[in-house]
Amino acid sequence: MNISFETKSNFTVIHLTGRIDVTNSNDLETELIRLFEDDRYNLLINCAELNYISSSGLRVFLLAQKKVMAAQGDLIICSLQPMIREIFDISGLSTIFKICKSEEEALQKI
């Protein structure tokens, strides 16, 4: 997994690349917690290059959603590959997260 950050409007755009699994989901959690400590609660997670996620990754997303909601921030997930989107659907996470097709669509909605 590779994580990179970018600032657009008042949002932090997070690009996730590769796999999020049980061996590295802690790294993602650490990075997100660092953002929260910086008071950055407006997050757009771009998953265009994410090609694997397991429950350990979903766990971190859900955790982030809870923290963002508690701080009245905003979390948007965009550009999910269909096979990843399927996992979100099955897990009932598609109704919990704001999900957008593309980064453009997400940035328009902000």
Binding site: D21, S54, Q65, K66, P82, S91
Partner: protein
């Protein structure tokens, strides 16, 4: 050309083995002409099942072996996972409530649920002091 067959793996009870395994599984899935999505789902199911063994099956941190068999034949993928940890029957685990709003949802408990959702058939038995989990999925 048509390929079918059966591969046995013996893994140590270490998290690092999961990364090695996922590469080998991709190799097999490639051989069997699985789609990217079928391959990801297979790796996901294996990760969920094996990480549960790594995290919960053994009380001490002794070295243990986990046995995995992957078989693809007659358009059916079969997975068999065996461990000598404490008895645990995942088919008796109730599903999490995935209709709850974010505030009330538990952040864990999706692993066994995903295994059940992604596979057609999940069977557990305890045999000779081993947990034996059999998973099947029709592919294609």
């Amino acid at each position: 050309m048509e390929a079918k067959g059966k591969i046995q793996f013996v893994l140590d009870n270490k998290v690092d083995e999961l990364s090695l395994l996922s590469a080998k599984v991709e190799t097999m899935a490639d051989l069997w002409d699985f789609s990217d999505s079928q391959t990801m789902n297979l790796n996901l199911v294996l990760e969920e099942a094996i990480s549960n063994i790594l995290f919960y099956a053994f009380d001490d941190d002794s070295e243990q072996k986990i046995y995995l068999i992957l078989e693809y034949d007659d358009e059916t993928l079969s997975v068999e996972i065996m461990d000598s940890g404490k008895p645990f029957d995942p088919t008796r685990q109730g599903p999490p409530d995935i209709t709850l709003p974010a505030e009330e949802r538990s952040i864990g408990g999706l692993g066994i649920f995903l295994i059940n959702k992604l596979m057609d058939h999940v069977e557990y038995c305890r045999k000779e002091n081993m947990n034996m989990l059999t998973l099947k999925k029709r592919i294609k």
